[in-house]
């Protein structure tokens, strides 16, 4: 053993070839295991960071937010989701969730509450929206689970709605929030994505009123985001400069933006 250590700490020039091979091998593997161990320790550290309510740790969340800053740089009103011929649209469209739809809907009294400020709420009926110019879109709807489906929707552009109701001041804020009438489901959306020309307040699927399980009477269709953001059955609409609550990001650890 002392011989071994003597070899390791002897100058290369004083060693014969066999000793040099031994020394170089031992030194290299020593660093190899030290660095490997450090990497493993780093991984363990990352895995054991305290998590937020969405079960995502702060370092991970920081990088996801940075990702969005980088990739949102590409977000542009000129980058449109590809449109398909209506004939390619699925009928019926896939139904993938019923969050926020479990409470029976009071169909007769439904209205969208646009909360401009505390105590200043606009009530928008479906007929009001139908009076605005209608936009139809047939695009490949993408679910965060990984499947996609070409679907055909109709409604009023969110940006058109903002113009028609003089809500440009509200839309000047950074985030839009939507929730279902029973408040069981809610999404937060960055305003540039909400104002994207393909974002619809949607009341038709395949030229017919939305089915109940597709969010009757009014839902969001936002092709620049995963389907989780296309909230079914809008109850409240609100605006904020802080991030608005988001079910999947706050509770389940998904990325807040989920942009495409």
């Amino acid at each position: 053993m002392p011989h071994f250590f003597k070899t390791i700490f002897t100058k290369n020039s004083k060693l014969n070839t066999d000793q040099l091979i031994l020394k170089k091998t031992v030194v290299s593997f020593f660093f190899f295991f030290v660095l490997g161990g450090t990497a493993f320790w780093g991984w363990q550290w990352l895995r054991h960071q305290p998590t937020d309510s969405g079960k995502t740790s702060a370092p991970i969340r920081r990088i996801l937010n940075t990702n969005e800053k980088i990739f949102n740089g590409w977000l542009s009103d000129k980058h449109l989701a590809k449109q398909y011929p209506v004939s390619m649209a699925a009928d019926p469209a896939r139904v993938n969730g019923n969050l926020g739809l479990k409470t029976p809907l009071d169909t007769a009294n439904w209205a969208m509450n646009v909360i401009r400020a505390k105590g200043d709420t606009l009530k928008i009926k479906l007929e009001d929206l139908r009076r605005l110019p209608k936009t139809e879109i047939t695009f490949n709807f993408k679910c965060i689970e990984g499947w996609s489906q070409v679907t055909h929707w109709g409604g009023v552009k969110f940006s058109e709605f903002i113009r028609a109701y003089g809500l440009s001041e509200e839309a000047g804020m950074k985030y839009l929030g939507l929730s279902t009438p029973d408040k069981q489901y809610y999404v937060g959306i960055d305003m540039p994505s909400a104002l994207h020309p393909q974002t619809l307040l949607c009341y038709e699927l395949n030229d017919k009123p939305l089915p109940m399980d597709q969010g009757y009477p009014l839902r969001l269709i936002i092709p620049v985001k995963y389907g989780v953001k296309s909230l079914k059955r809008i109850g409240d609409m609100y605006f904020s400069n802080e991030r608005t609550p988001d079910y999947w990001a706050d509770k389940k650890g998904y990325d807040y933006f989920s942009g495409l």
């Binding site: 070839t17 066999d18 040099l20 091979i21 170089k24 091998t25 290299s28 593997f29 190899f32 660095l35 490997g36 990497a39 991984w43 969405g54 079960k55 995502t56 991970i60 990088i63 996801l64 990702n67 990739f71 590409w74 977000l75 542009s76 980058h79 449109l80 989701a81 590809k82 490949n140 993408k142 679910c143 965060i144 689970e145 990984g146 499947w147 996609s148 092709p223 620049v224 999947w248 389940k252 650890g253 998904y254 990325d255 942009g259 495409l260």
Partner: protein, 228 residues
């Protein structure tokens, strides 16, 4: 007599050993994502020969119901995979190592000889520089695959903003299939790589850690009588 011969530069050893755990994390987190829509299989008609993946596989690796965790780790570690890959490619170009790595006009013929030799069908040893012909092809292909993973990954990550990229890979659904198939490719590469490393032995493995190989050199025969 033994001789110490330099084989792998320090930079390449770093790239190799960074890539190993990073790619492992990418494959693991990718599985967490894939599980949420696990529709791929090998088969014909309604007959399935191989389903990706059987339930037992998911259970064994604790895959189910971890989509958000998978996405989070995938989109964090993609940066390391990308930066390490770029560094490797740039280093290979700048240092001139690419000459030892890229296949040349003899490689495809020679690779066949390597295969026959490795399968003990052919006795004569094929030409072995730093990398033999089969290695040149395999190690160059893996770079192309890495680039493919990054591009198809980007295509399905931002299919609206990068629509042209999505179209280039045959659309959203097909880009996801390519992204998945490349991953299966890495796993197959890894299996063959491990077998080859084990067969090649300690001297070869040591080189990817220490950088050198030990070569036996014949001692010059000393003439018994002085020549006139």
């Amino acid at each position: 007599m033994k001789k110490i011969v330099k084989k792998h530069p320090l930079a390449i050893r770093w790239f190799h050993w960074i890539n190993f755990p990073v790619l492992a994390i990418m494959i693991w987190s990718g599985l967490l994502i894939y599980w949420a829509n696990d529709v791929y299989r090998i088969g014909f008609g309604s007959t399935t020969l191989l389903k990706f993946f059987p339930n037992s596989f998911y259970q064994a690796f604790k895959i189910p119901y971890r989509l958000s965790e998978g996405m989070a780790y995938h989109f964090v570690f993609m940066w390391l995979f990308f930066l390490n890959g770029i560094a490797y490619v740039l280093y290979t170009i700048i240092s001139g190592e690419w000459r030892l790595l890229l296949p040349n006009r003899h490689s495809f013929k020679e690779a066949w000889q390597v295969l026959l030799h490795d399968l003990h069908i052919r006795k004569t040893k094929p030409v072995q520089g730093k990398y033999n012909a089969a290695q040149r092809i395999a190690y160059s292909a893996i770079i192309v695959m890495g680039i493919g993973s990054i591009l198809t990954g980007l295509a399905i990550y931002k299919p609206v903003q990068l629509e042209w990229l999505c179209i280039l890979f045959g659309g959203y659904k097909f880009a996801r299939i390519i992204h998945f198939a490349l991953t299966i490719g890495y796993v197959l590469f890894f299996l063959v790589h491990i077998i080859q490393v084990i067969l090649a032995g300690w001297n070869n493995f040591r080189a990817i850690v220490t950088g050198f190989e030990v070569e036996k050199v014949k001692e010059e025969p000393v003439p018994e009588e002085p020549l006139n």
